[in-house]
Amino acid sequence: MSTLLDRRLIVVTGKGGVGKTTVAAALGLAAARSGRRTLVCEVASQERITTTFGVAAAGFEEVEIEPRLHAFSVNPDEAIQEWLRYQLHSRTLAGLLGGSRIFQYLAAAAPGLAELVTVGKVWELAQLERKTPRSAPYDIVIVDAPATGHGLALLRAPQTFREVARVGPINRQAGIIDAFVRDPSTTAVLAVTLAEEMPVSETLDLERRLQDELSMRLDRVLVNSVLPERLTAADRDTLKAVDGSGSSTARAAIAASLATHQTIRAQRTQLARLRRGTDARVATLPHLLTPDVGRDDLERLSRALEQKL
């Protein structure tokens, strides 16, 4: 855990629906508990982190939601405005340009500009010398990034702009951001997955693409929602032998237990496949057994995380 939390930036990605937001929030909780001034940052967001903590949406503003734990939500439109203000050293000029149709055409036309300003804002949040006036630095910034493909697009954007804008301020800034996100001593990419076939495949694919397209390493894989394995093979055989006898409720209970066991076996197969295929460290997280993750569940998950990393 210590080595992971000593990074300035942790990018949490993975297939849709695997619990990225929950894991990012739990990681934030663990970091804050360790005494670090922590920011959890949502991207393309529906403000799910603040919802989980039961506080008002943060928006494009750094809000302390618990001691040492802050939340923020990046929105590309506001990030572009902020970037223009910084770029032109003038709020008026930035407003004029940002509001002009022509600039909006440029923003729409330049592929990946939204991703660039988003990752640029994330970079700024993770700096010891903040550019945002009257803002304190964070020890660690945890980004709840979009799903795999779009998450990669985010990490790739600075490189893209270095190539497209061969000289000038965009080229220079993109270079600085690119170096930061690709330096393993400052930034770690963490994949969240489930012990199921498609999420595992997508995780392995992510690792390959990180390497091929960005020369980046996947730092860790967190396998979410792993069910507790109770039955041994002998237990299963015993249950199978008695299945069909006894009261109807006993039969139903045994059937449920056997079905759960089958799911767990499938999880183990996928977990083994993941461990064989990845160079990253793999840790499992327990299933929370609840559809709506609340503050208590996050606490439980963050304690489990602490022990696993």
Partner: protein
């Protein structure tokens, strides 16, 4: 209302399966197409990024944008026999974009200039945005070909539903003639040929962005020039197809709360934007087991197995029913939000569905 997907698809020729990632959208799309083929229709399912084993099960070739007939004997072996035909294709977004340029370019020179331009290469290769539009473009193409009774589209995984619905509009705006004029003018601006107003704005842009990006953009729009009208016209027709009566959107979701929230949001947006909504399919719903972990059951179990194993079964049962209760809560929440619209519950099938037998099992649940 609960029921059969057949009802939602009556008279439809285009089916768009939408929803967030990880809910079994690709599998559901394939199962719907397989079910329709089994009932005698000639159907093609256009998938975005199928799992290898599902692709293998369908016999999909590695190359994208290839129409492939799924072997009828393999379908029949899985119990999906019928008079129809099941076709499948994996989308290659970049290739689709390149083909569009080829079709619209006036001559080979223009075509090559666009295909070589760094802005175009970034744009067409970008995951965000162009994939969504190209999926619709290919859908339109397959539909217009008249070769199929129905086209089923598996949409790219988007966190934000609007990204997908808005794709044709965004492309239209991107190639809007005003922006074309501006960038063509700014290409000349470096030669000092534009008026003072545009010149001032151009100098601000130059300060903010650097020169080369603008020049590439200007080159791109210059080369793109005469194609713009064709593109815009196409985007308009694609968007019109999405709104037609013969098109329907099916929302695919799982009972996990994040997916439910996305589905609810998408449903609202579809209604707001006047898109035709067919219903929602909730996958992977765990069913409640009619047994309660208590002394009575413990006693009943201990007559069959030893006390240690009985305890394990009780705890497994508790976990299972806790998961099932959560799922059923989510489904009811979703049902309340859907009003009277069609809602189909597909119970959790053991393991991931990645073979034709699995598809057949799923199709059976969808076409009850």
């Amino acid at each position: 209302m609960s029921g059969d997907v057949e009802v939602a698809l009556k008279g439809k020729t285009v089916v768009i399966c939408a929803g967030s990632g990880g809910v079994g959208k690709t599998t559901t799309s394939a199962a719907i197409a397989a079910g329709l083929a089994a009932s005698g229709r000639k159907v093609i399912v256009l998938t975005i990024d199928p799992a290898r084993r599902l692709a293998d099960a369908l016999g999909l070739p590695e190359d994208g944008n290839t129409e492939h007939l799924v072997d009828p004997s393999r379908l029949a072996a899985a119990g999906l026999n019928g008079d129809g035909e099941l076709w499948a294709m994996t989308l290659d977004a970049k290739l689709t974009f390149d083909e569009l340029i080829e079709r619209n370019a006036a001559d080979a020179e223009t075509r090559d200039a666009v295909l070589r331009n760094p802005i175009y290469r970034q744009l067409s290769g970008a995951v965000a945005g162009s994939q969504e539009y190209m999926a619709m473009e290919k859908l339109y193409e397959l539909h217009e070909s008249g070769r199929y009774d129905l086209v089923v589209l598996d949409t790219p995984p988007t966190r934000n539903a609007l990204d997908f619905l808005d794709a044709p509009g965004r492309l239209s705006r991107f190639i809007d003639s005003r922006s074309l004029q501006f960038f063509r003018a700014s290409g000349r601006a470096s030669l000092g040929l534009v008026g003072r107003g545009a010149g001032a704005l151009f100098s601000v842009l130059k300060r903010a962005t650097g020169m080369d990006l603008l020049r590439d953009l200007a080159d791109f729009f210059n080369a793109f020039g005469d194609m713009a009208e064709g593109f815009r016209d196409r985007a308009r027709r694609v968007e019109a197809l999405l709104r037609e009566d013969r098109t329907t959107f099916l929302l695919v979701t799982s009972p996990r709360s994040a997916a439910i929230a996305d589905a609810d949001y998408f449903h609202r947006k579809l209604n707001e934007t006047g898109m035709p909504f067919g219903g929602v399919i909730v996958n992977r719903v765990r069913e409640h087991v009619r047994a309660t972990a208590g002394p009575k059951l413990e006693h009943e179990l201990s007559e069959l197995v030893d006390a240690r194993l009985a305890q394990k079964v009780l705890r497994d049962l508790e976990d299972h029913n806790r998961l099932a209760a959560g799922d059923s809560h989510s489904v009811e929440q979703l049902r309340a939000g859907m009003g009277g619209d069609l809602l189909i519950v597909v119970p959790e099938l053991s393991g991931d569905v990645h073979d034709l037998d699995g598809l057949a099992a799923m199709a059976k649940r969808l076409f009850s």
